[in-house]
């Protein structure tokens, strides 16, 4: 259903419709929130599931994200990016929080709290919706990346590990991690440009 909706009304119209729905949400319109949910719950849920890994946790993230949208719609500046971009940012933020809480369930005494260095997922996302076909092609590009590039990118984006944590886990120097993540992103950028009509 989600794909059909996208296909019929197109990317720019989705962004406009989202913006209008968010403005109605600010005024307390529950139907407008439901509209945003119907368009993007799949996007939020799928990303959450990829990050947290378990279905009940992904459901919790979905609920947290839409509760946050309801509470904070008035604070979101729609000129900063699309509503879908904001949803992705919130999803990543809530899902990574959850992942960190879980990781922290090792005895507190074993964690050096002062040195916990985490990525900040709250960068504004200029999200352009891609079609299922474009997503499939990009997924292939990601999967075809050399493991040395792909793994650091996945650990950074989907697992929220800092670059120093990635370096430690993979046993490579920090500078190498940065370079490889950058290479992977540039490859994806080029593939994204090609995938667009």
């Amino acid at each position: 259903m989600w794909l059909a909706v996208l296909a019929t009304i197109g990317d720019a119209s989705v962004a406009d419709a989202d913006r209008r729905a968010l403005q109605r949400t600010v005024r307390g319109d529950h139907d407008a929130l439901a509209e945003v949910y119907d368009r993007h719950a799949r996007l939020v849920y799928s990303l959450a599931l990829r990050i947290v890994g378990r279905q009940p946790d992904a459901e919790d993230v979905l609920q947290e994200v839409f509760t946050q949208v309801w509470r904070q719609a008035s604070r979101y500046d729609t000129s900063r990016g699309t509503v879908a971009g904001w949803l992705v940012m919130l999803t990543r933020s809530r899902a990574l929080d959850r992942l960190r809480r879980e990781r922290a369930e090792v005895p507190a005494a074993d964690i050096d709290w002062a040195s916990v260095d985490v990525v900040d997922p709250e960068t504004a996302v200029d999200l352009q919706l891609v079609t299922a076909e474009q997503a499939a092609r990009l997924r292939l590009v990601l999967e075809a990346l050399p493991e040395a590039q792909r793994v650091p990118l996945e650990l950074g984006y989907y697992d929220g590990l800092s670059q120093s944590a990635i370096a430690a886990r993979l046993g490579v120097p920090l500078g190498t991690v940065k370079t490889r993540m950058r290479q992977a992103l540039l490859r994806l950028r080029d593939a994204l440009a090609e995938a667009r009509p």
């Binding site: 529950h30 849920y45 990303l47 990829r50 839409f66 509760t67 260095d117 960068t123 999200l127 950058r182």
Partner: protein, 267 residues
């Protein structure tokens, strides 16, 4: 203001990571100030911007369970009315569910605005009840049973409330707990399956801070190993990075000495 070339090279390397939100906050500001003065890096950021959104969309796609839609939307409506819209509250999902339970339990405080939705809500509530996790149910039951239900509720609906999940440690793997901490109103601890205490021993609750653990109070579980405890931590208590429950000699200890039974990190 242009950066030195060496900075430019180092920071340019960071642009891609910045674009996908993979930089820690400590490294973001240097990138941001460089971006303001460097057209080349700003242009690179513009081309990389869509990659983050693409990464979010190329994960395997799954539809959320259909029943979730009604649960989420109605719990938002319920918590909304319950709290008279606090725009800044970061609500944990269980809280919305707990608010629904409070409504159902007859806390008629919120009834006025709900009248037209009550019938729908009752149907949705049955669905929600089935799905509410044990911990959530425990909180609601504990709240209902509390002789003084208002004080914990005040913590739970505080705009700055944060939930901290505590996991049972190796000495008590079945134990679990949740702490709800509000800087302005105090902390509520609910725990279950704590092992029975040997004579002369007590459980003690701690806020772990970067400096040292701070005692928050003693905790005595009931015969079932359950605890519901409200502690007034308003005032000078620092923000916890973790919350822990240890076993200590009766009367408590100034610093933790015994085994850790429950530990959870604040997010």
């Amino acid at each position: 203001m242009s950066a030195a070339p060496r900075d430019h090279d180092a920071l340019r390397e960071q642009i891609a990571l910045y674009a996908i939100g993979a930089l820690p906050a400590s490294e973001r500001s240097a990138v941001e100030s460089h971006l303001r003065g460097c057209a080349e890096c700003a242009a690179e950021l513009a081309t990389l911007g869509p990659v983050s959104g693409a990464l979010a969309q190329i994960v395997p796609q799954h539809d959320p369970p259909a029943a979730l839609r009604a649960r989420i939307l109605s719990s938002i409506a319920a918590s909304d009315r319950a709290s008279a819209r606090r725009p800044t509250a970061a609500w944990a999902p269980w809280l919305a569910a707990a608010a629904m339970l409070a409504v159902a339990a007859g806390a008629g405080l919120y009834a006025a605005g709900l009248r037209e939705r009550v019938r729908t809500l009752q149907a949705q509530l049955r669905v929600a009840l089935d799905r509410v996790a044990d911990g959530e149910r425990r909180v609601a039951v504990a709240l209902r049973n509390a002789a003084d239900a208002e004080a914990p509720l005040a913590v739970l609906v505080a705009p700055d409330v944060r939930r901290i999940d505590l996991a049972g440690q190796p000495v008590a793997p079945r134990a679990s707990a949740r702490a709800f901490w509000s800087r302005s109103r105090g902390v509520v601890l609910t725990a279950t399956n704590l092992p029975a205490l040997p004579p002369g021993r007590t459980y003690q609750l701690w806020f772990v801070t970067p400096q040292a653990p701070i005692s928050i109070g003693l905790v005595k579980p009931d015969a079932n190993g359950s605890v519901r405890r409200l502690v007034d931590t308003r005032g000078d208590f620092p923000e916890p990075v973790a919350v822990a429950v240890t076993i200590e000699p009766d009367g408590g200890a100034p610093a933790p000495t015994g085994d850790k039974y429950l530990v959870g990190a604040a997010q």
